[in-house]
Amino acid sequence: MIRVTVNGVTSEHEVEARLLLADFLRHSLGLTGTHVGCEQGVCGACTVLLNGDSVRACLCFAVQADGGEIETVESLGTVDDLHPLQKAFQEHHALQCGFCTPGMLMTGIDLLRKYPLATDAEIREGLSGNLCRCTGYEHLVQAIRSAVEARNES
């Protein structure tokens, strides 16, 4: 039995010891916004925040999240009311197929909370754990840059 708080909602679940956190979120909780791209911890599509730090949900077992707080892409905005970072992604065309996007967003949230991101090089380094095959990254960098500016102004 594990007890987790996901996007502010606390619940208890009986899980198999080998159940991956990504599969737990997607299949047990129905939060399909978190995507699985490699199950090897490389692509970053499954990135979620666990106790405030970005983690690979494909490299964590659900039981490792016991007692923890998880934030997924569903914790951001909704289709009708997007989060400022999601809006920045749309304005800068920072997504094409959208598969890596939830991981990019959660990594972006983590970066924006923790780092100055003073240069594009710093943003690129911050994003370098997340693969995107569509955008060539430049529009992602622009979206994060505009979110950094908005953060620094507020």
């Binding site: 399909t32 199950e39 690129r124 060539g136």
Partner: protein
């Protein structure tokens, strides 16, 4: 509002309509679809490259918890008609395309046994219990060796491992070569790569036993092609077999073929009467998704002493892997290398010969750019080599040989006809935008300081938006030259447009909505675009070969104009004015110069719901819908020039791309935001192909790059910001004026980066003839040079 004062929708930086759902985690990708009672498939795949299947022991697996079925080739033989990628092309052998390996396996990763269980975890547990006994049949790994008589045959009935032979020729190139002032040549190698879409392939089939109808949800780029093939294989009529592509997480050609796994889930779902899902994991993706490139090109270019090209000849060996993929055939990649090798240049004499050789590897297919990344790499290297020999600037060498605007239509040495397009404009555009001369000065300074800095140019032209006159793959029996659009205004005034294309990142829901909004007179957000569903239109193929904007965009214009005519006719009765005095925009139909207007909703209600508003003779025949089919016939020519500047670290041999400029001509740009994104993404994949992406097999055919730690794709840290210029040359005889442009970045970038690396290392006398130019390869090249010429 005056019509001419209206802001144009085509050409505007419209934000994408597909974004909110994808950003909010509300997309519907294949693994987000959950049907009650779904069974999950896991495969036992071959760990041999070429071996006879002696025995399959699966009794233990069948007894494992949750297992519903264990299936081998024998079990499905009577449940389907086999399929082959046939072609009218001469000297081609169409291999079979087995769903599960029968009798023997031909590559590591080929599916042999399928386990069907109540969860994927349990299916994989059961796969562990399967034991297959193999008897090795001898390797056919190296294509050069495999082509020789006496080497082990992958397909015995073919009589040879060479399954395609083709030659393109013009003039007496040997005579030209013999007397030319300058000849440069080399053997070039472009290693194997794999598309690596971020979403792996996946399929979910459901069989409705009551209706005897099958629906396949597939991560496919080509739902129409898959539907048409499955109808033949599974003996179901097309109205009871539907192929739907949900949100698809990238394809790049890797999802543009019919796959064994999608056939299999259909067979199992029909047999068991339950939904059946298979989702590739990344290991399976790197072993079983159709791969790309893998050619050896021996090429030679002849010029006069002023750098004018006189002749070109090439021998190409394409390693196409174990099977000929459906529907493109094994010819698509290597044959395009020789058909596009002359590039955008005047090449008076030419001979390009290609042989496609089957080997014990994953099949190759239609990866982004198809053949042209290699043809461009080779030709652009030759151009630079000739320029160096003549002490000509590479830019000048290209200017001297590129097809000029007054020469269109120009028939290339391989028979491709280049129609009017901004060939030279792109070359001049990239040179101007990059400030080429000042870059050369910067380079000279860096070189003087001992740094390895180089500049590379690459120019190419591609055929895009192909119409019915030219098959995407030679001799292919599938028509990809037309697309239709069905446009409908329903009784609430809502606009729905259905297409046979299948957007999977290209933003076609937005760009096609822009086209319809502008033509029909509604707002972008009023248009719902349906795509990726074989039931949406009578015939459609999908999205590949830089075709969707050209073909679906053209069909969108035609259908929107037809519906607009009906809208205006109905409105002229309702408002009692001449059609010529009316216009439509922003969701309103109005009398020009007045405030008399109807919304589309009011109009639709009057046409469909309010009896008596229209006279009977008008009402009949004024249904607010139209289907139109568009055929661009020859297709469109899309040229571009790329410039890359690189610096190589003399300690680590890491190549950093410091500047990247693209000038391309995609005709009329519908959405600059999306057009830029297509170029940036394409260039990123091209830089990957140039510097790091490589599928490596060992001598026994084992794949050594079976994870994303070993198959390295570029991250944000390796891809530079880019400058992109769209030339928008006018396109005659094409309804929308759109040229295809989705693949171009990947075509130009390997050549530009290769030329830049060669330029950086020119003082050392090092040639670049092999990609990717990994740090290890550069290290070995430089070491070898140092050993040869000790200081």
């Amino acid at each position: 509002m005056k019509a001419e004062a209206r802001p144009k929708i085509i050409g505007a930086r419209v934000q994408r309509v597909e974004d909110p759902r994808l950003l909010a985690g509300r997309g519907a990708f294949i693994d987000d679809l959950n049907l009650p009672g779904t069974l999950h498939v896991a495969f036992c795949r071959s760990d041999h490259a070429h071996a006879r299947i002696v025995d399959i022991e699966s009794a233990e697996a069948s007894r494992m918890p949750g297992v519903a079925a264990v299936i081998t080739a024998v079990d499905i033989a009577d449940k389907m008609q086999p399929i082959r990628a046939t072609s009218r092309m001469a000297d081609y052998y169409a291999t079979e395309l087995p769903v599960l390996a029968r009798d023997k396996v031909r590559y590591v990763g080929e599916a042999v046994v399928a386990v069907v269980a109540s969860s994927r975890y349990l299916a994989e547990d059961a796969v562990e219990q399967i034991a297959i006994t193999y008897e090795p049949l001898g390797d056919a790994i190296d294509p050069v060796a495999a082509a020789k008589p006496g080497s082990p045959l992958l397909h015995e009935e073919a009589g040879s491992n060479v399954i395609v032979t083709r030659t393109f020729a013009r003039g007496d190139v040997d005579a030209v070569m013999a007397s030319a002032a300058v000849r440069v040549g080399d053997t070039f190698r472009m290693h194997r790569k794999t598309p690596t879409a971020m979403e792996n392939r996946g399929y979910l089939a459901e069989y409705d036993q009551g209706r005897r109808a099958l629906t396949l949800h597939s991560t496919t780029q080509v739902p129409g092609i898959v539907r048409d093939a499955l109808v033949e294989m599974l003996d179901l009529p097309g109205n009871r077999l539907r192929v739907v592509a949900p949100d698809v997480g990238g394809g790049f050609g890797g999802k543009a073929a019919l796959y064994p796994e999608e056939i299999l889930v259909c067979i199992i779902a029909r047999q068991l009467g339950r939904p059946v899902k298979w989702l590739s994991d990344r290991l399976e993706d790197l072993m079983s998704t159709n791969q790309a490139f893998d050619e050896i090109v021996e090429a030679e270019l002849a010029c006069d002493d002023e750098g004018r090209i006189l002749g070109l000849r090439a021998e190409v060996i394409g390693d196409v892997g174990a099977y000929s993929v459906y529907p493109w055939t094994a010819a698509i990649e290597p044959v395009q290398v020789v058909s596009f090798l002359p590039g955008p240049y005047r090449v008076p004499s030419y001979r390009g010969r290609v042989r496609a050789i089957v080997t014990s590897k994953t099949p190759t297919g239609a990866y982004r750019g198809v053949g042209r990344p290699i043809s461009t790499f080779v030709m652009e290297r030759l151009i630079d080599m000739a320029a160096a020999r003549l002490s000509l600037d590479p830019l000048q060498m290209r200017r001297r040989n590129m097809v000029r605007s007054e020469e269109f239509p120009y028939k290339s040495a391989s028979g491709i006809v280049w129609d009017r397009a901004g060939f030279m404009e792109c070359l001049d555009g990239v040179a101007t935008a990059a400030d080429y001369q000042s870059l050369r000065q910067q380079q000279a300074q860096a070189r003087a300081a001992g740094r390895w800095v180089g500049i590379g140019l690459a120019s190419y032209a591609e055929l895009t938006g192909l119409g019915s006159r030219i098959a995407v793959a030679p001799g292919m029996p599938v028509n990809t030259g037309t697309e239709s659009a069905s446009l409908r205004i329903d009784s609430t005034g809502a606009v729905t447009a259905s297409f046979g294309i299948a957007s999977h990142g290209q933003g076609l829901e937005t760009t096609l909505a822009q086209v319809i909004a502008e033509e029909l007179g509604v707002r972008v957000e009023d248009v719902e675009v349906i795509h990726g569903d074989s039931a949406a239109v009578a015939h459609g193929t999908g999205t590949f070969a830089s075709r969707s904007t050209v073909l679906a965009g053209g069909a969108a214009i035609m259908s929107a104009r037809a519906v607009r005519e009906k809208v205006l006719e109905a409105a002229s009765h309702l408002l009692e004015v001449d059609v010529g005095d009316m216009d439509a925009a922003d969701g309103r139909i109005f009398v020009k110069g007045t405030d008399r207007a109807l919304t589309f909703r009011e109009l639709a209600r009057a046409v469909y719901s309010e009896m008596g508003r229209l006279p009977r003779e008008v009402r009949e025949g004024i249904e607010l819908e139209a289907t139109r089919m568009y055929d661009p016939y020859f297709g469109t020519s899309t040229p571009a020039s790329h410039l890359a500047m690189v610096e190589i670290d003399p300690e680590t041999y890491r190549v950093t791309v410091t500047r990247y400029v693209v000038a391309e001509d995609c005709g009329r740009v519908i959405n600059p935001l999306i057009a830029d994104g297509q170029v940036q993404g394409g260039v990123a994949q091209g830089i990957g192909a140039a510097l790091m992406e490589e599928v490596v097999h060992d001598d026994g055919g084992q794949i050594l790059t079976a994870s994303l730690m070993d198959y390295v794709v570029p991250t944000a840290a390796e891809i530079p910001a880019m400058e992109i210029i769209h030339m928008e040359t006018e396109l005659p005889d094409n309804i929308g004026g759109f040229r295809g442009m989705g693949e171009g970045g990947t075509i130009g970038a390997p050549a530009a980066v290769a030329n830049a690396i060669a330029d950086a290392l020119a003082p050392l006398g090092i040639m670049i003839n092999e990609l990717p130019a990994t740090p290890e390869r550069l290290f070995r090249l430089i070491e070898a040079m140092n050993t040869e010429q000790p200081e």
